[in-house]
């Protein structure tokens, strides 16, 4: 499952979508809306997306993981629109026979997402708003 949605993400559904009988582990990454940015209090976020391309790029990340680790049980779901602090903005789940590959592939997926998937976040503060346009946090 590789999708962009404007509905709340249910982590359990994403995990269930990758589980197979051969898997000994599912590693998940759950991205949240943080309440601060560069020392300023964040009230909420809004995400914009180029949906057609974003879903294509998410599929490509899945293909890269399959090629590199031989892992096919991967799901990435990114939410867009308005989100409050502590809400889930992205979930990645990777199922694999053993944990090492699952951790590596999950880390790879979120790193690639930040560099290749056309999604943008806007932060809303008490005194204004700003599109985040900077190099992703390493």
């Amino acid at each position: 499952m590789f999708k962009v949605t404007d509905e709340p993400i249910i982590v359990e559904q994403i995990v269930d979508s990758v589980k197979t009988g051969e898997d000994g582990a599912v590693v998940t990454f759950v991205g949240l809306v943080r309440n601060n940015s560069n020392g300023k209090k964040v009230l909420y976020l809004e995400y914009d997306v180029y949906k057609e391309m974003a879903e294509k790029k998410l599929h490509e990340i899945g293909d890269e993981i399959k090629h590199r680790w031989g892992i096919a049980d991967v799901a990435v779901c990114h939410r867009i629109g308005k989100m409050e602090v502590k809400e889930i903005c992205v979930v990645i789940a990777v199922g694999a026979p053993h944990r090492k590959e699952a951790f590596e592939a999950c880390q790879y997926a979120i790193d690639r997402l930040k560099h290749t998937v056309p999604i943008w976040k806007k932060e809303f503060f008490e005194d204004g708003e700003v599109w985040v346009e900077e190099t992703p946090h390493p």
């Binding site: 391309m53 998937v117 346009e133």
Partner: protein, 79 residues
């Protein structure tokens, strides 16, 4: 020929619109389109960071075809 230029995030807000149709000359490149858009609307940096044609990343020397969808992408901040 005509291409559709799409704008996202800060570019969309600067333009006040998410897409416009632009006439360009045959064999025009993405760089030509950027110049034309900035003559018309002045919303893009002179060297825009990321550009996609028909949902695939390209360089500015990419040659356009009639009906192409050209997306101008500010620095990404998903996740």
């Amino acid at each position: 020929m005509k291409v559709t230029a799409k704008f996202f995030a800060s570019y969309r807000e600067l333009l006040g619109n998410s897409e416009v149709e632009v006439d360009v000359e045959e064999r025009a490149t993405v760089a030509h389109l950027v110049k034309k858009i900035n003559q018309l609307y002045s919303v893009l940096p002179s060297t825009p960071v990321m550009i996609a044609v028909n949902a695939e990343y390209v360089e500015v020397d990419f040659r356009l075809s009639d009906g192409d969808e050209v997306a101008f992408l500010p620095p990404l901040s998903g996740g």
